[in-house]
C-alpha cells in the first residue's frame, strides 16, 4: 500500500494555492513530516488529499488505485484527516465523540466490534481516564488528543494530521507522537503530519517534505532535508545541525 501524489494543483476559487505538488511512493508505515512556514499550503494539501478540495490538476493514488475523484464517504474510509484544533460545545462524552467518528463509515447500528475499537483506541492513546468526560470540558491539549483518537479509530490507509502537537505540552507532544508511531507499527497506515517543531519532525519522521508557497522545495530523509540551505532561507533563520549523544538530530535555530 503506497500513497502517491502526482503533479497536484489546487486552490480556493480562482486562487491557486498548490502548484504541481508531487510526492511519490510513500510506503505504508511511513511517517512523513510536512514542514514549511505558515501559509505554505500544508492545510490545503491535506484538504485536497482528504477530498475537501477538488484539485484542478493531478492525481492521487492509494495502493495503485486512482482516488482523485472518489466521493466524500468512500474517501473517508481510506483517508482520515484531522483539521487544526477547534473547540466545541457539544454535550457528548469523549467515548461518544470517538464512536461517532467511527460510525460515519461503518453503518447505522453500533455493534460490539465498534465499541471494542473505540475502547482500544482510547486505551492506546492513554485517554481511557477521559472516556466519560464531556468533550466541552476538555483542555485544549486533551481536545487535540481526542481529535487524534477520532482519526486513528477509523483505521484508514492514510492519516493526515494538521499540527497534531500545537496545543500540547512537551510531555504530551512526545506521548502523542509515540502513540501514533506505535499505532503505525500495528496497522501500517501512511501518516502525514504538518509539524512546526523541526526537532520533533527530526525525531519522529522517516521522511520530510519542505513546502513553501504551495510548491515542494525538498523531499527526503530528515538529516538530509534539515541540512539544506533552503531551511534557513524558508524559515528566515540561521541553523546549526547537531547530533546528540544518542544520535538524535538537533536543529539549533536563531534569528538571522
Amino acid at each position: 500500500m503506497t500513497l502517491t501524489i502526482a503533479s497536484l494543483s489546487a486552490g480556493y476559487g480562482r486562487t491557486t494555492v498548490l502548484h504541481d505538488v508531487t510526492i511519490t511512493d510513500i510506503p505504508s508505515g511511513a511517517f512523513v513530516g510536512l514542514i514549511g512556514p505558515n501559509a505554505a499550503g500544508k492545510s490545503t494539501l491535506f484538504k485536497t488529499i482528504a477530498g475537501l478540495i477538488t484539485p484542478t490538476n493531478g492525481t492521487l493514488t492509494i495502493a495503485g488505485e486512482d482516488v482523485t475523484h472518489l466521493g466524500r464517504k468512500d474517501r473517508a474510509k481510506r483517508v482520515a484527516y484531522m483539521p487544526q484544533a477547534y473547540g466545541c460545545n457539544a454535550l457528548l462524552s469523549v467515548f461518544e465523540s470517538v464512536l461517532l467518528a467511527l460510525k460515519q463509515t461503518t453503518g447505522w447500528r453500533v455493534n460490539d466490534d465498534n465499541l471494542d475499537r473505540v475502547s482500544d483506541t482510547l486505551h492506546a492513546l492513554g485517554l481511557s481516564h477521559l472516556a466519560n468526560r464531556g468533550v466541552a470540558d476538555l483542555s485544549g491539549g486533551q481536545a487535540q488528543m481526542v481529535a487524534v483518537a477520532q482519526t486513528i479509530v477509523r483505521a484508514p490507509d492514510v492519516i493526515l494530521l494538521d499540527e497534531p502537537t500545537s496545543a500540547l505540552d512537551l510531555h504530551h507532544q512526545l506521548s502523542i507522537l509515540t502513540s501514533i508511531r506505535n499505532e503505525m507499527d500495528r496497522k501500517k497506515p501512511v501518516v502525514m503530519a504538518a509539524l512546526h517543531d523541526l526537532n520533533l519532525a527530526a525525531k519522529f519522521c522517516d521522511r520530510l517534505v519542505l513546502l513553501r508557497d504551495g510548491a515542494i522545495l525538498a523531499d527526503g530523509k530528515p538529516e538530509h532535508i534539515l541540512a539544506l540551505p533552503q531551511i534557513e532561507e524558508t524559515y528566515r533563520v540561521l541553523t546549526d545541525l547537531e547530533r546528540t549523544q544518542r544520535n538524535v538530530l538537533y536543529v539549533d535555530a536563531r534569528l538571522a
Partner: protein, 353 residues
C-alpha cells in the same frame, strides 16, 4: 499523566449510559401517556376516566352526546397537542444542530411571524396564495408563508460566508419584517377581523381536526426515519463543521436536506395551531440535559418532551378556570418560561448525563 483504566470498564460505562438513556426515554413516554389520558378526561362536563375510555373503545357505549364530546372534540385536541408539540420540538432540535445555535427554533427564526402574516392576509383581504382552498384558506396561507420563510433561510445558508450567527440575525430580521407587515394588516382590518387575527396569533388547539392530525402524522412518519438515517452525520456536526467535514460528512448537503425537512415540520405545526413559542426551545433543551446530544436519543426524546409540554399545557389551559379554555400560546409562555428559567438556573452548566 497516563492513568491506567481497564478498557473493558469504559465500554461498560458507555453501555450503562445507553441503557440509562432508554430508561429516561421510557419514563418520559410514560409521563406523556399519563398526560394524554388526563387531557382527554379533563374538560367541561367532567366524565370519569373509565367512562371516557369505554367511549374510546366503543364510541356509542354512552350515547351520541358523549361520542361527540370524546371523539370530535377532546381526542382531536389532545392528539393535536401531542403531535404539534413533537413537530415543533423536532424542528427546534434540528435547527439548533444545523445552525449550531441553542436559540434557533421556528419562533426565533421568524417562521411563526411569517405564518401569522399569512393568516392575517387571509383574514383581512381574503387573499389566498393558493387558489380555491375554501375553508382552509387561513391555514394554507399560514403554511405557505412559513414554508417560504424557511426557504429564505435555506437560500441564505447557501450564500458564501454566511455563518450560524448571521443566520440568527437573518431570522430576527425576518421576525421584525413580518411583525411590521402584520401590524399594517391589523391597521387596515375591521374590529371583527382584528379579533380573529389576535385569536389566531395566540395559538389555540381548538382548530384541531382529524384531517390535520392525519396530515401531521404522515409528515412525522416521514420526518423521523429521514432524520434517524442522518443521526451520525448530525451528531458529527455537533463537533464543529470542520471536524464533521473531515470525517466525510457533506455538511452543505446535510444542511439543505435537514432544512427542507425542518421547514415542512415547522410550517405544518405553526399553520395548525398558530403562534406557540417556546416549545421548540424547551423540548430540545430538556432533552439535551437528560440524554446529551447523541442524535439517536436526542431527537426522539426532544419530540417526546415537546409533546409532553404541549399536552400538559392543554391540560392546564382547561383546568385554571373551570369552563374556560385559555389559548395555549399564552400558557406556554406564562407558565412555561419561569419553569424553564428555573431549570436552567438550577443546573447552571449543562452536564453530561
Amino acid at each position: 499523566m497516563t492513568l491506567e483504566v481497564d478498557p473493558t470498564a469504559i465500554r461498560h460505562d458507555y453501555v450503562a449510559r445507553v441503557s440509562r438513556r432508554y430508561g429516561v426515554i421510557a419514563a418520559v413516554f410514560g409521563l406523556l401517556c399519563l398526560s394524554f389520558l388526563l387531557d382527554i378526561t379533563t374538560g367541561p362536563g367532567g366524565y370519569s376516566l373509565s367512562t371516557v375510555s369505554e367511549v374510546l373503545f366503543d364510541p356509542m357505549s354512552h350515547g351520541a352526546r358523549l361520542k361527540v364530546i370524546v371523539w370530535d372534540y377532546r381526542l382531536p385536541v389532545a392528539v393535536t397537542a401531542v403531535l404539534v408539540g413533537a413537530l415543533l420540538a423536532v424542528a427546534g432540535a434540528q435547527m439548533q444542530t444545523i445552525l449550531n445555535n441553542p436559540l434557533a427554533e421556528p419562533f426565533t427564526l421568524g417562521v411563526s411571524a411569517a405564518a401569522s402574516f399569512g393568516a392575517s392576509l387571509a383574514i383581512v383581504l381574503g387573499f389566498s396564495v393558493i387558489p380555491a382552498v375554501g375553508p382552509l384558506l387561513v391555514t394554507v396561507n399560514a403554511f405557505v408563508f412559513a414554508l417560504c420563510t424557511c426557504g429564505f433561510i435555506l437560500l441564505a445558508t447557501r450564500l458564501k460566508g454566511v455563518g450560524s450567527e448571521t443566520m440568527i440575525l437573518f431570522g430576527i430580521a425576518i421576525f421584525f419584517t413580518f411583525s411590521a407587515l402584520l401590524a399594517l394588516m391589523q391597521y387596515m382590518a375591521s374590529e371583527d377581523q382584528i379579533a380573529r387575527i389576535v385569536f389566531w396569533m395566540m395559538g389555540s388547539l381548538s382548530r384541531a381536526s382529524w384531517e390535520k392530525i392525519g396530515l401531521g402524522t404522515i409528515l412525522l412518519c416521514f420526518a423521523i426515519p429521514f432524520s434517524l438515517y442522518r443521526t451520525w452525520p448530525m451528531t458529527a456536526l455537533r463537533m464543529g463543521e470542520a471536524t464533521a467535514q473531515s470525517m466525510g460528512v457533506d455538511v452543505g448537503r446535510l444542511r439543505v436536506e435537514m432544512l427542507i425537512c425542518i421547514s415542512l415540520l415547522a410550517a405544518t405545526a405553526v399553520s395548525f395551531v398558530g403562534t406557540v413559542g417556546f416549545v421548540g426551545l424547551v423540548g430540545p433543551h430538556i432533552a439535551r440535559m437528560l440524554v446529551g446530544e447523541d442524535q439517536r436519543y436526542f431527537v426522539p426524546l426532544s419530540a417526546m418532551v415537546g409533546a409532553l409540554v404541549l399536552s400538559l399545557t392543554s391540560l392546564i389551559s382547561k383546568t385554571i378556570t373551570p369552563g374556560i379554555i385559555y389559548p395555549i400560546g399564552i400558557i406556554t409562555s406564562l407558565i412555561g418560561v419561569p419553569i424553564f428559567i428555573s431549570i436552567i438556573l438550577s443546573s447552571r452548566r449543562e452536564r453530561l448525563q
